[in-house]
Symmetry: none
Subunit: 186 residues, 4 copies
DNA sequence: AATGAATGAGATTTCATTCAT
DNA sequence: AATGAATGAAATCTCATTCAT
């Protein structure tokens, strides 16, 4: 076995932190390398360029969040429990690893991503959840409109905590957000 | 007596459009000037640098949106009519001048803004509306949590239209968003 | 009679002050005009460009200092009184109008001036004074070498006051500088 | 392991020469890089900006001159020999490396330097020499006033050679300047 | 007569990337 | 394998000067 790459993880952590703190465009290779404690050229050993780093990082974390969400939903049977589990899982992730959560949100605004249609996203998972609720007679209306409302309540509450309009930790709001989501569906 | 300013308005329009289309960081002074049909240096007569332009532009349009919202709310008496008026006013603005609306949304994510505590924002207006609803017995719960939910539904619906997940025009969704808002408050 | 130009004197004062404080190169037309309380274009009504302003200002003040020095020397008869008068006149000018004095010194370092050979300078006046002293038997040695020493003592004392190494006002040092000058000549 | 720096020394030499020939403000990064045979960006790997380059260069050469002066003084025992050694050392440096000497003189006029109080300067060395002379009974009067006179004679003679008022080389004037210095102290 | 808007040229600085060791 | 020096291109910004009113 070849010796494991040493700079890869520090580079990813540094990039994640700086991208979230300053934005993708505003963060330079120099800064990432300095924070990671390695050289600038080391980055090019692991990714072909900066765009590639951003892209790979985004996909990894998007998959992570999507899977987390899917597992939380699959683990429960009732619609209410599914929603509550999904909210709790994501809000706990936010409280424990705020960078991951914020990075996924941020990149969508800064970079236009072509994900490829085969890549499932959190939005897809929410849509499916709403459709399942409709089939179960627990929701009425256009699935996408409902999904937009659910995602909106979920994200904006997180945003308010992020910007200090609401006191944290975010997981505190699992119950009210779940309750609101159920009201919206009915 | 002096030559009247000719480049100011074109520069603002060009900046607004390009910032929205490509992002603030990704838009250069050169492009703004080219779109405005003037020299790059002209920009520096009206704003002290690029950041200043972004800041001033943001504040102007934030005031514009805040006032629009406030007027729509003041014009009506019932809570339901106030919410419907507010949603319709903003969504119509979006349909007619999408750049203004999107710019205000965009910049919050790209730039960390110190607005100064005296500057009223749309969030403040929404909070006051929720508190009024509570006094009228038409809402229950923490005002900020409720406001976050309302703003979330409102914005995420707009975002879905923006990214093509929902078909436009946005003002189509005035009624369902209003209905959802009322459900959330109760 | 035409109305007198209103911006000329303020512009000269502003330029003098800023040139001394920040250096000629580092001072822009914008700043000069702002300090003078007039427009940038006004400067071009009085001087053909920035270099012309620097040049004219330098010549005026050089003539002023040269004449001051010459008059002080001519007014006295003994060598000692001539030197003392010259030192006192210049040091008093420095105390009363430090900008004029410092500007004349500064410009020589920042700008290479072609004065034209017909323009008398303070150095010429000093050389003549030394030659007169030699004819009177009150000095020995090469006139230029002696002049360099005299000017050196004179200027460096002023420089030390300027930079705070010696306490002011500068005219306090008239007597010791004069005494030193006489020692040097003998 | 990394590529060894190739541009650092050429950049310093080019900057020294151009700063002296044309002045600091009048010398551009482009010219420095062209003279050094490297790109403009190379400069920013070694100094954080132009001001930093000027500052570092000044400090280095100031230390060099201060040390030279101090060694020359320490090497001798009598006051006269100390002064003569100091003058000769500096004037020889000027003749052999005029750029270093002139740069140190030039920058003081162009840039306001905050050296920090721990940095010894040639002025400090001269003051100490004068105080030693006073303790040895070979000088009378205020030490700083005397130092100003010594430094003035020393520098102005160099300046006259520099501007062609006196024929060079400068070390020719070691004896007369030393003699004048001794007269001043007594 | 006087303004301040506008400009072209050029300054400094930053950036992602490549290169030599 | 890994570094940090070097680079070309482009970014932001400054400047003295001219222009239109």
């Amino acid at each position: 076995m070849a010796r494991p790459p040493k700079a890869r993880v520090p580079l990813k952590l540094a990039a994640l932190q700086l991208f979230v703190e300053r934005g993708v465009h505003a963060t330079g290779i120099r800064e990432i390398a300095k924070h990671a404690g390695c050289s600038e050229a080391a980055l090019y050993r692991h990714w072909s360029n900066k765009d590639d780093l951003v892209d790979k990082l985004f996909r990894e974390h998007l998959v992570e969040v999507t899977d987390l969400l899917q597992r939380a939903i699959t683990a429960e049977t009732s619609i209410k429990a599914k929603i509550e589990g999904a909210v709790r899982a994501c809000y706990t992730l936010y409280d424990e690893q705020p960078l991951v959560f914020r990075f996924v949100l941020l990149v969508q605004h800064e970079v236009s991503k072509n994900l490829g249609s085969d890549q499932r996203t959190p939005h897809d998972v929410v849509i499916e959840l709403v459709e399942e609720a409709k089939r179960a007679g627990e929701a009425k209306g256009d699935a996408v409109v409902l999904a937009a409302a659910l995602v909106g309540v979920f994200l904006q509450t997180a945003t308010y905590v992020l910007y200090g309009r609401l006191p944290g930790p975010l997981s505190t709001y699992t119950a009210p957000v779940t309750a609101t989501a159920l009201k919206i569906l009915k």
